[in-house]
Point group: C2
């Protein structure tokens, strides 16, 4: 069964880790948000790609929720001493990823190509695609700080209250993205933030139309009225003036959605089928269990 | 007494450390070879500037002879995993220097400006100037491997036999270099390799003529027929077909030189005055003692 997963950072990455184990080799393609990408210390950083890559390679730091496990921060300490920006913490091993990627991009390699190469070097066997090779910075119109690029908003301003999320550019999806969707038996939208992790993918030219032709299952990122991680609940209230809960996610994806996986005990009447499951993933086994539940639900809907 | 020191890496840097302690604030300007500079992992590396800077800031690793003390190599390990070049070992803290410098150069800062800023951040109070802001790669014509840029020759090919050293470009000296020399009471040539550390400085347009007008004292980098560090003795034999010893250094610098400091017991009859001293520096105290001997000798010659 060919599955395309759409993913942001941590939550999406953990589901993808389970899907990669639950599916046969060659069955999974993950399309990853790159709207959070930015330049820092002269390096090109792709936070969601890195989180997906490190998670798939079993190198991610599970407790901290970002970066690599067994990481050190010697370079960061020295950068502080030089008076360089230190609001975004890059670890020493993590730096290697950004150095290798940046050098490759400057040499003319595409983000798709360098992502494939780095994933292969880390022993990742499923396919990981950036959503686009072009720059597509996600812009956040905030209530108090004007318009900010994603990382400035998310890290530096700690996800300050949002009016609106915008995309300034409309580059084509990366090579392989539309084909992967067209060839998929179903699309799985990971438990990521719809506004800033999934919408950047869906609003690329041609992607929403391609997804619409498929069975689409989302995993709700909302548990007991709160986002498992990040500022999603506040964003739903601010942007959509809706109650936060699985129904807000259903309404958001409505025209695309065949079904949604929600936290056990939170299923309600909805316009699509709801499947209860344990959606909070901490361990590898949590990810595999949820992935199997998601795939079982997908099979019911096909 | 205003002193300009010409320096390559380790030996020159250690003498400069002593000179900075022996002189009053504002009396010392160090002009540093940048012919070994190169790009690696997409970063601009200035090995001799770094060695001088780390040594002056008491951050250098004394045992290893390059890089920072208490250094880690986590990024390097990850770069190897990605299949990136690993023949030049960059430490994690050291990476911060290259990241900060590279970003500044890309933003239009000159090497002189960024060097001053990094030195100030490390608490260095004497003046450190790169020899030039322009690129001036030292090219090594080898016997067996054709023409190599410095680091490829020195690190990757372990200083393979040399036919000739060449400079492909002739950029102007960095701002301040000619003025510093013109205003100096004396020039001290550090115990660095004349061919690949000092000649890159002396052969910049106008530098040799400016130096010629001053009292010039060199510290011999040769002790008991061998270079204290590096392939100098072999280079002297190969390039100049001379016996290796202080006299080879005297002949090399002859038209400029007022005197030379040589290792105790190695003084001979020569065309310039020789001053015996303990020239092998390991500790900070070695550097200070030699610096005082050099400055005493300079005063005798003024």
């Amino acid at each position: 069964m060919k599955i395309v997963a759409l993913s942001g950072g941590v939550g999406g990455a953990r589901l993808v880790h389970g899907l990669a184990r639950a599916l046969a080799p060659g069955e999974l393609t993950t399309i990853v948000n790159t709207g959070d990408d930015f330049e820092h210390w002269g390096l090109w950083i792709s936070p969601d790609l890195d989180t997906v890559m490190y998670t798939l390679a079993d190198l991610a730091d599970v407790g901290r929720g970002w970066g690599l496990a067994e990481e050190s921060f010697a370079a960061l300490g020295m950068m502080k001493r030089y008076g360089e920006d230190d609001w975004f913490a890059l670890g020493d091993r993590d730096l290697a990823t950004h150095l290798a990627r940046t050098r490759a991009l400057r040499a003319g390699e595409t983000l798709t190509e360098v992502t494939a190469r780095l994933c292969a070097a880390l022993g990742i066997t499923s396919r990981v695609l950036p959503m686009t090779d072009g720059p597509r910075p996600t812009l956040i119109d905030t209530v108090d700080h004007g318009t900010l690029p994603f990382q400035q908003w998310f890290v530096r301003h700690r996800a300050a209250p949002v009016r609106r999320v915008r995309f300034a550019t409309h580059p084509p999806p990366a090579p392989g993205v539309l084909d992967a969707i067209a060839n998929a038996d179903a699309i799985v939208i990971g438990p990521s933030n719809p506004y800033v992790s999934i919408d950047p993918i869906l609003t690329l030219p041609g992607v929403r139309d391609a997804v619409r032709k498929k069975r689409v299952v989302a995993v709700s990122p909302i548990v007991r009225g709160k986002a498992i991680k990040g500022p999603l609940a506040e964003m739903i209230r601010a942007i959509s003036a809706e109650e936060t809960g699985p129904l807000a996610i259903v309404r958001y994806y409505a025209p695309l959605l065949s079904g949604i996986v929600v936290e056990e005990g939170e299923q309600t009447a909805a316009s699509v089928r709801m499947k209860p499951a344990r959606t909070v993933m901490t361990t590898r086994e949590d990810s595999l269990t949820l992935a199997r539940d998601v795939l079982g639900f997908v099979r019911e809907l096909l």
